[in-house]
Subunit: 342 residues, 2 copies
């Protein structure tokens, strides 16, 4: 049966590098949204617990409930949260209307838009939002932003950071005035944190870096030795001896160029979240065998007869081939694929 | 909350068209593998039961067990099946080794490779396979092939069909000789069936066509009026009034060309199986608003302020944009997205 292997040593290695950079493990929060970027929500939550990580961020309430037992807090980045969810499931607030929908007593983190023009309240709504949170009886545990320019050259990253400093100052003052505990502040992504020397935030939400990747411009963040955590392995279904010229798969788009060869099919296809390689794409297995397009929904053909093949050990190559980023390659993997922690 | 809407009337309409073509509903089998091509395995199984469909084909044992109560037989196309699975879970056999792994008494369908050079036993292995099935005490309920050239011009489709006729004759003779019941025979895909006037097979495995698509060369199969079953809807998270020139999303790759506009974010991203549109792609919602790249993992931005937007009502457009086929666009949708049958 096909499986995704999760390399726990690579993961711990990445966490250690990131903790060293930000100064302490306590400052490291993990982003486990979207089934932990395809790595398996529960599997990664357990590894994080083993590593002593206290704070996680996930997609929504459903993901938060599944891993709440393993963290001090799990923040649902999208959607609302119902009263009956565990108390350590926090909710990120994106708009004034949303604040009014959250049941009294829930811990919340206020998202502020510092220039990405995407989610969160606008800076000019800050005071109204803080008042609404208090009026609604919510517990303001955090104030967050997201640096949408962390991967890019240019000044936008720094102007976003300065705006967040202004937000922090105003919230701190508001908390003092009203005798409220100071919430935690966090605005940096993986690359945002790694390009920053002096991090003022109380914690850093590390997403892609914990899984072993950075997608920043090379002048922005230099290589720090992260290791990819996930690899994709497929098992052999059948092997055939085929003559030169034999055509394989849908539309016979692959033609065997060599003299008689063994060709095998393996149990991974695009229905598992792998890409549908067609005749415009060239890709080898990690061991160097040719993957023969077209990939089917549930299987693919490879020249050779190994019992198992590694179809991917670094998402960067597929990302380049499909004009995208490793995030998309990783999150595509079907949750029904078995995850095996090694 | 974002959702996939399953148009039951479109689905019933497609089933009816296909039943008319093959002559009777009894000849229609449904391919519900890979979460019913992303449509939702359980939701589609229930609609099939309502329509009176008796035979289904799925990816593996896990899928088969989930929907076994709704069909006379459910065939797992890949992998093995354990003794404790319900008796109406049948298994497709791809190799001689696999035959020896299946527990005695299980109903099986033998897959024969008639020229796709992908899965199934070779024709020259047919007699050995039939003997092994009998020796192993398995119940041969079906013999199948797959027409890998159904979508293409050229003679390969017909030569595959002729080879399957030969296989059928040999198996029928073997069954007569050994006093075994005649198994069912099926080799055609959606386009293979629709290009055939006189179908000899006992049933036809309809996959993509039941969901409203055909991907065949237009000279091979003409338009028959199938209707797409699935559409993707997203809910508004926030709306902002942005000035001309405002930059939106990661790297600020979208710049607002118009005078001050409302721009909203919606709760679908590539983490849900939608595509990560980047600055090289142009796509509108079904209502005609611009989707602003880059799409994020959990959200995307659209010019406008509707409460909900339809991001896709026909997978063909996304398929063209990403050099693929509707199958891949559909099966990518996360099983965690809510399916709503309308």
């Amino acid at each position: 049966m096909a499986e995704l292997r999760i390399n726990s040593q690579a993961f711990f290695h990445n966490l250690k590098l990131l903790a060293n950079h930000v100064g302490s493990k306590e400052k490291v929060a993990v982003v486990l949204k979207d089934n932990a970027y395809g790595h398996g929500l529960l599997e990664m939550a357990l590894l994080c617990k083993e590593a002593g990580i206290a704070s996680a961020f996930v997609k929504n309430e459903a993901e938060a409930i599944r891993i709440a037992p393993y963290f001090e807090s799990v923040t649902a980045l999208y959607g609302d949260v119902e009263s009956k969810s565990p108390a350590n499931v926090w909710v990120a607030l994106h708009s004034l209307e949303q604040i009014r929908r959250i049941p009294k007593g829930r811990s919340v983190e206020l998202k502020v838009d510092t220039g990405m023009n995407r989610n969160g309240i606008m800076e000019e709504e800050l005071f109204v939002a803080l008042e609404a949170i208090r009026a609604q009886g919510l517990i303001l545990c955090g104030v967050m932003a997201h640096n949408g320019y962390g991967d890019e050259l240019g000044s936008e990253f720094f102007s976003q950071q300065r705006r967040f400093e202004g937000v922090r100052a105003r919230v701190e003052e508001y908390a003092r005035e009203h005798g409220l505990p100071r919430p935690r502040f966090h605005a940096l992504s993986s690359s945002g944190a790694l390009r920053s020397r002096n991090i003022q935030d109380d914690l850093v939400r590390f997403g892609i870096a914990i899984y072993g990747y950075l997608c920043a411009h090379p002048l922005v963040v230099s290589e720090i030795g992260l290791r990819p955590v996930l690899s994709l392995w497929a098992r052999r279904i059948t092997t055939k001896s085929l003559p030169k010229g034999a055509r394989i798969g849908y539309g016979g788009k692959s033609e065997l160029e060599e003299e008689a060869k063994k060709v095998s099919t393996y149990d991974v296809g695009y229905g598992d979240g792998f890409y549908r390689l067609n005749e415009h794409h060239k890709l080898l297995t990690a061991q160097g065998e040719r993957i023969l397009p077209r990939v089917s929904m549930d299987c693919l053909s490879v020249v050779g007869e190994r019992e198992e093949v590694c179809l991917m050990e670094d998402a960067s190559e597929l990302a380049r081939l499909f004009d995208t980023i490793p995030y998309e390659v990783l999150t595509r993997f079907s949750p029904f694929l078995k995850r095996v922690v090694i």
